[in-house]
């Protein structure tokens, strides 16, 4: 005879404070979605004139908007790709060092050192790239071009200043390294200790334990970290704008003085002097960059969310 009694749901008393507070949180949450939508909408509205711009509105020799943005988009993706190629292996190694190889007592401090790298503002990286890195690597470029010039990527003539797309890629790699490292480190630390201890107890060396327990467990995390690093590298502005000596073409050569520039750097360099349709054209390239990074980030998130369910990384 308990059926009737059990079914009555006890309803909490709704107080005005509760109402106001929960509404405020919902509004704040929705505001974020609204801001994201507003970014897309306002950029789109402002870029409409650019899609119909006449050829002489463009800086340089271009017939329409798409031929203007193509080399920029190429430069953006190419430099970010090169940067990731360098950053991801090093970042995984550094994360492993901090999580599994370094002495326990030092590990946290060492991780903090790498995090400091993430805190350095990008203009400072730009100054460093021109002042220190470019002169330092130029001799290496010269000898690479001299010895391996037959390889298409290394074709000459070598840049005399070292301010090439490869230098930019190195700077970008240094900038995304701490982001990728931080995420990988968190993921590696989440590996269930029982797995690690079990494989060590079965006689595995530390490296075998890592390949069998830690890396499979963290694969989704590593992919997501790399994608987030890619997103950062795609959108990085000042370091590229300062280090690169640009020319708007599609070129794969790494060490010449003719380098494709990136969307973000192109905007930063030209925006202060732009006027009329020129502003709209730059805004439209910004919209293209926004769409590219949005897609990269969304793919990354979908991968993480889908893998989360069975990798246990939550």
């Amino acid at each position: 005879m308990t059926t009737a009694v059990d079914r009555i749901a006890i309803k909490a008393k709704e107080r005005p404070g509760d109402r106001i507070f929960s509404t405020a949180t919902v509004v704040a949450g929705s505001l974020i979605l609204a801001v994201l939508a507003a970014v897309a909408i306002f950029l789109f509205v402002q870029s409409v004139p650019a899609f119909m711009a006449a050829p002489d509105d463009f800086k340089g020799d271009f017939s329409n908007f798409w031929s203007y943005v193509a080399p920029l988009a190429f430069g953006t993706i190419w430099s970010a790709f090169l940067a990731l190629l360098m950053a991801v292996p090093v970042a995984i190694a550094v994360a492993l060092f901090i999580s599994h190889f370094a002495p326990r007592k030092l590990a946290q401090g060492l991780g903090y050192l790498i995090d400091l790298l993430a805190a350095v503002p990008s203009v400072v990286f730009g100054l460093w790239g021109i002042g220190v890195l470019a002169p330092l690597v130029q001799p290496f470029y010269a000898s690479l071009v001299e010895w391996f010039g037959w390889f298409p990527l290394f074709a000459g003539p070598v840049s005399g200043t070292g301010r090439t797309i490869f230098t930019v890629a190195i700077v970008l790699a240094v900038m995304v390294l701490p982001i990728i490292t931080a995420i990988c480190r968190e993921i590696f630390l989440q590996t269930p200790v029982l797995y690690e201890e079990a494989s060590l107890a079965l006689g595995a060396t530390r490296w075998e334990m890592i390949t069998m327990a830690v890396l499979p467990f963290g694969r989704a995390g590593i992919i997501s970290a790399a994608m987030l690093g890619l997103g950062r590298a795609l959108g990085e502005t000042m370091a590229v704008a300062m280090v690169l000596s640009p020319s708007p073409q599609i070129l794969f050569q790494l060490f010449t003085s003719q380098n494709p520039t990136t969307i973000a750097a192109n905007i930063a360099l030209n925006f202060p002097e732009a006027h009329g349709v020129g502003v709209n054209i730059l805004l439209a390239t910004g919209l293209v960059l926004f769409v590219i990074t949005l897609i990269v980030n969304m793919i990354a998130r979908v991968i993480i969310n889908r893998r989360k369910a069975f990798s246990g990384a939550n």
Binding site: G17, S30, L36, V94, L283
Partner: protein, 362 residues
């Protein structure tokens, strides 16, 4: 009953077939010395004009990896050898990752200190300054204003959203917000600046619009997702028992959040906010676009251009005058100021986190 023990010649089974513990260090020192000697001979024969330190360290380390692998391969077998090789490589990767940090901080200190230590750097602006002299006060004030206002906008929105996601959010809206907050962390900073420009130039119908408040809005777009993510993580750490205990005592939900959940996670939230400030305080691109640059003081957020430190650094570098060294010196001094601010923020944040946070997990 007596047990018979067969005495055999003593061999320590724990260390048999293993290299002595300090082998890696010895091998490292030996390979550096060997390669160093080779380079010293090359140097003394006059083939290179200066001693090749970079080459010594590089080839010495390569030699170390090879020799250690071979030693271990013949004494301990291929599995141990691989393990030792990976340990060496991973450690090298860490050292390599630190080189840029050391080089960057070092050069900034060396190049920045002279102008940084001039008394006028923190008391004067660049108004009517040609060549050396003047200071960065206008930029420092601008940075404090713009970032301060951005913090004022971002923290309430970000914190409330985090509360929504942990305490209230169920279903589609919460999932959507989580997803898009994650996506928003990846918005390029320059796009945020372009957004602020597009918004305000439409609103005020002024295609040449530049003002400090726009910079704050742009920085908020970048800052909000960071605040949401970090506060959400911290709120999730609050044990459910605390909430249930409060409910059991009849405390309304909103008071539970305000009086129990938030105070418990306060240290973590403060840390997250400070880290997010340090993240946006160095942003150049959005401020270059919407706040512009100027050589004068400007205390009004809502009209006229406003200088900020990162833009100051860029501008000093990009448009050098006749006495270019003075401009470059000021750029480095500005960079040094930025690094000092950012590192202080990070350091204080870590201290706050370490001293006040509840000890949970590992």
């Amino acid at each position: 009953m007596t047990t018979m023990t067969v005495s055999t010649p003593v061999s320590n089974s724990l260390t048999a077939g293993k290299l002595p513990k300090n082998t890696p260090l010895m091998v490292l020192a030996a390979s550096w010395i060997v390669v160093g000697a080779i380079f010293a001979v090359v140097f003394m024969s006059g083939a290179t004009e200066s001693y090749n330190w970079v080459g010594t360290l590089f080839f010495g380390t390569v030699l170390y990896c090879v020799v250690l692998y071979l030693f271990s391969y013949f004494v301990e077998g291929v599995r141990r050898a691989k393990d030792r090789l990976v340990t060496a490589l991973v450690t090298i990767a860490f050292v390599v990752a630190l080189i840029p940090l050391v080089s960057l901080v070092g050069t900034t200190l060396i190049n920045g200190l002279p102008a940084f230590l001039t008394p006028t750097f923190f008391t004067e602006s660049q108004r009517n300054v040609v060549g050396a002299g003047g200071g960065a006060l206008h930029a420092i004030v601008g940075t404090l204003f713009v970032t301060g206002l951005a913090t004022l906008i971002s923290v309430p929105i970000g914190l409330l959203t985090a509360i929504y996601l942990t305490e209230y959010g169920r279903g589609r809206l919460a999932r959507g917000i989580t997803f898009f907050v994650d996506v928003m962390t990846g918005i390029p900073s320059i796009v945020a600046g372009l957004f602020a420009y597009a918004l305000f130039s439409l609103l005020f119908n002024d295609p040449g619009i530049r003002f400090g408040f726009g910079g704050s809005v742009a920085l908020s777009v970048l800052m909000i997702p960071v605040v949401v993510r970090s506060s959400e993580e911290m709120l999730k750490l609050v044990p459910n028992e605390l909430r249930e205990a409060a409910y059991a005592l009849g405390v309304p939900k909103w008071l539970t959040i305000v009086k129990v959940v938030l105070p418990t996670s306060l240290a973590g939230i403060v840390t997250g906010i400070m880290i997010s400030i340090s993240r946006v305080i160095g942003e150049t691109a959005p401020l270059l676009i919407i706040a512009g640059f100027t050589a004068s003081m400007n205390y009004d957020m809502f009209s006229e251009r406003m200088m900020t430190l990162p833009v100051f650094v860029y501008n000093q570098y990009a448009s050098q005058g006749a006495d270019s060294q003075a401009y470059i010196d000021r750029a480095w001094a500005g960079a040094l100021t930025l690094i000092v601010i950012v590192m202080l923020l990070n350091l204080v944040a870590r201290l706050v986190a370490r001293t006040f946070s509840p000890k949970l997990g590992r």
